[in-house]
Symmetry: C2
Subunit: 519 residues, 2 copies
């Protein structure tokens, strides 16, 4: 554990230091930079053995007695039947323990390669990967207000994620580029991830052919041989909860899995609507649905990299609106980390910096911070929605994004833990500065003062009078300055000109081969 | 653990239900109301045995090699010398292990009695007591801005704390009534706590005679015989860190201890200034200073109730300003919970909902929420500054206060944990609503929907359009409505007219006996 480390890089320009795998053994200060990050504090074990067994038994009961439907995907059902599951119509049922057994070929840890190997990440074990929000149709900022997202917004968020040392992954649909026809969006999105960033990313899953395009573009960037043997991309497979995989999702799941690319299986349960209203039931059902999807991926290609995902929240059953960062949802987040660890697979938390607030106000940050604590203490390996999320995910906020970055940096500092040794206990300082004396001028303080504490970008304290003279600016107003400054300073990562050209050509060719569809 | 419980009371009027001790055995829904509250989730154990031992050894080393000064308090030094400590001038040194041994008579758990026994609380074990902020010279609200606090503000915060089911204690100097002469403030403050609220409170410590007045007023309210045998009041003893108790504090400490009233010993270490800059050193030094104060209380009256306190934060060593809710400070908070548990004494966390932000913006709530997670997972028994704190404690915010109340309620829900049993797993619901079906109309959902989730007062989500129609009001603006509505609805708790009269008479008599001092 590190508490005296090199100053974390301030997020003005992305890290360019090379090193790749070497950093893993080295650990140390590099571990706080983009790329490999290790959680060095214990996970929080909310439930004991008896309660965890009860949840696992309930998941097994759901999969054996109720079963789960793979609608419209005969190949998926064929794979399950061949593995010994009972298949009636769309319904697949597992014997107790069978889903767990089918998940056993999933790797406990794997590398998700980035175009620049410096930014490759490990998923699983004590590794942590933070990512931007996902899927918002709207964006907002203090200047222009809330509006439909465009490809320009998409590119802006890819740039901001690239520039932050606190995000380790470029994300997927960081916002919906609603000015691009639906059937062509994936081309522009993957192109942006592959050219404006060099961090890992997620490809399209909205149709099997779009998943295939995403993989094809990866082959251009990484080389087909490399992609055949390595995970360079992730696809998000949302379960159509309760207990249904639709054809689009299970098809995309198989496309990614067969290509050896990473599938993240994310049940999406709003307690009370897509499942019972209690946290325990939401946890058990999530476990059942996640195992079923992981089992399908393993049947499609044994050993293919997967991530145990979740997306769960609560509803204000008074008003019917969804709530995020609620205590009940945070309890589920903590428990899903425990269940995934027992399955020995990498876990994507259903948490992140999430909120139902409509603006980046105090509620937004309280919800987000609370969800993020549950997320990180749950032992999550991958955190979607770590930056930008507002309004239950309907909106990506520019200011919220950089406010969240400060919190990501602080949480990354926290998971380094507390180092206890003679160097940090510094008994010699008490001989320099005794009772009633000031430690500011001790050698230890002078040596460490610049690097001892995490330094946020836009959080601030200090004299009220100075703050008032500066116009009583809230953190949201300071964030407005910050994202603009970041975008002004943006520089794209280097790319092989041949690859750049081939990607552009591929996008143009595929677009030319299709009409514009808006659904 | 409870996840299906009665709807927590909405904070409009205080709970009046009687029951006192009986509720303790009963537990259940009552446990979320004012009075006795139990943490039903595990503590978070950040450090392992080896690191904890190293911190304890460092604390012992500080107390034996460096020592700690009790300046101007010959009686304190006499007590330590009589107990076998080495005393040279003001400096007291303990043999290794001696401070721990002197703390052994401190009770692991005790009752802090409230004027209305329904609101009596337990300190220690798994009990949790949340309190308002403490000590701010300023207050702020959206209407009038930041200004010096007055006795009217003080009374307002006592009323708000009384009305909230999420605060279990009326606090102490919830803000400084700067319009009252310094030497008379304690009379008006204790009077407000004893008449406007019926929850436990803190008395004055700013001079031994003020501590004595506080105790005398308690005797009027509770009866002298009861006060002689029971803790009805707490005093906050701030260590003049590093390693100094000044005469005012050690004198007040002895006054409270001798009267059998509760002393909370709070080292106050700004890492880098009042101690070394590393979290490990801050934790070890806090432990040393807290043990020394607790030891003195036990020497003054063996078995007297004490609380192991702390107040620690980080500094932005770039700008020199204090920072709150920082990851380094949160790590210390977590570890101090571990150290206090090993000493087997009740612990007051140095956390709470604290921030250095100058307004109740997103940073304020992110800092506060982060600190509160560390605080509650540390196993803290008592949380000061759980509501209202802004600007590093210089200001109590009316809006921040009620925003924090929502977070207190959410955290109190979280510490109830997740109940896992047939009633919460509800397998029968999956027979009612199978794959692809909606659980909203299942019997289980209908039965539990109104009470399943914590319902905040002013946090909200819901349709952006409706929110925009309502004027895009932030949570801070909604909070402004909320505290005004609460104050309008305030009703004082019942009080025996004779007691009321005697308290008023005591205050008038003491005030008449003094001139006005403003220092």
């Amino acid at each position: 554990m590190l508490s005296e480390r090199a100053l974390p890089p301030q997020p003005s320009l992305p890290e360019r230091r090379r090193g790749g795998r070497a950093r893993r053994a080295a650990g140390g200060a590099g571990a706080t930079k983009a790329g490999l990050v290790l959680r060095r504090i214990p996970t929080y074990e909310l439930l004991g053995e008896e309660a965890l067994l009860a949840l696992e038994e309930q998941a097994d009961w759901i999969l054996s007695e109720i079963g789960i439907e793979f609608r419209g995907d005969a190949e998926a059902r064929r794979l399950f039947a061949a593995a010994g599951c009972s298949v009636e119509g769309d319904r697949v049922r597992f014997q107790p323990g069978q889903a767990t057994a089918l998940c056993a070929t999933a790797p406990a840890e794997f590398t998700l390669h980035a175009r620049d190997p410096h930014y490759s990440v490990a998923l699983g074990g004590d590794h942590l990967v933070l990512m931007p929000g996902y899927g918002s149709p709207f964006v907002t900022d203090l200047d222009r207000g809330r509006r439909y997202a465009t490809i320009e917004d998409f590119r802006n968020f890819v740039k901001l994620a690239w520039m932050s040392p606190w995000l380790h992954h470029s994300g997927g649909t960081v916002c919906e580029p609603t000015d691009i026809p639906v059937n062509k969006r994936h081309l522009d999105m993957v192109h942006a991830h592959l050219t404006l960033s060099a961090k890992p990313f997620m490809g399209s899953v909205t149709a099997p052919e779009r998943a295939a395009d995403s993989i094809e573009m990866s082959r251009i960037a990484f080389g087909a041989d490399f992609v055949a043997e390595n995970a360079v991309m992730q696809g998000n497979i949302n379960v159509n909860s309760p207990l249904v995989f639709d054809e689009t999702m299970s098809g995309a799941l198989r496309t990614y899995a067969e290509a050896g690319q990473c599938v993240c299986v994310s049940p999406a349960i709003f307690g009370g609507a897509m499942g019972p209203v209690t946290p325990a039931a939401v946890a058990a059902q999530t476990h059942a649905e996640a195992m079923a999807g992981i089992a399908l991926a393993q049947l499609a290609r044994p050993g293919c990299p997967i991530v145990y995902g979740s997306f769960h929240n609560t509803m204000s059953l008074k008003t019917g609106s969804l709530t995020f960062g609620s205590p009940e949802a945070n309890l589920v987040t903590l428990v899903l980390g425990q269940l995934a660890r027992r399955l020995d697979v990498p876990v994507r938390s259903g948490g992140g910096q999430i909120t139902s607030a409509n603006s980046a106000d105090g509620q937004a940050m309280a919800d987000s911070t609370s969800a993020m604590w549950a997320t990180l203490l749950s032992g999550a390996n991958q955190v979607w929605h770590a930056a930008g999320w507002l309004e239950g995910g309907l909106t990506m906020g520019y200011e919220k994004f950089v406010m969240d970055l400060d919190q990501c940096g602080a949480m990354l500092r926290m998971i380094e833990g507390m180092e206890v040794n003679a160097g940090t206990l510094t008994p010699e300082s008490y001989r320099e500065a005794g009772p009633g004396e000031n430690f500011l001028s001790t050698r230890h303080t002078l040596q460490h003062f610049a690097t001892a504490n995490f330094i946020p970008d836009i959080s601030e304290g200090g004299a009220f009078e100075r703050w008032a003279e500066d116009g009583c600016r809230t953190v949201e107003e300071r964030a407005n300055d910050r994202w603009k400054a970041m975008l002004s300073a943006y520089e794209p990562p280097p790319i092989d000109p041949g690859v750049d050209e081939a990607l552009t050509e591929f996008v143009a060719r595929r677009k030319a081969a299709m009409g514009d569809d808006w659904y």
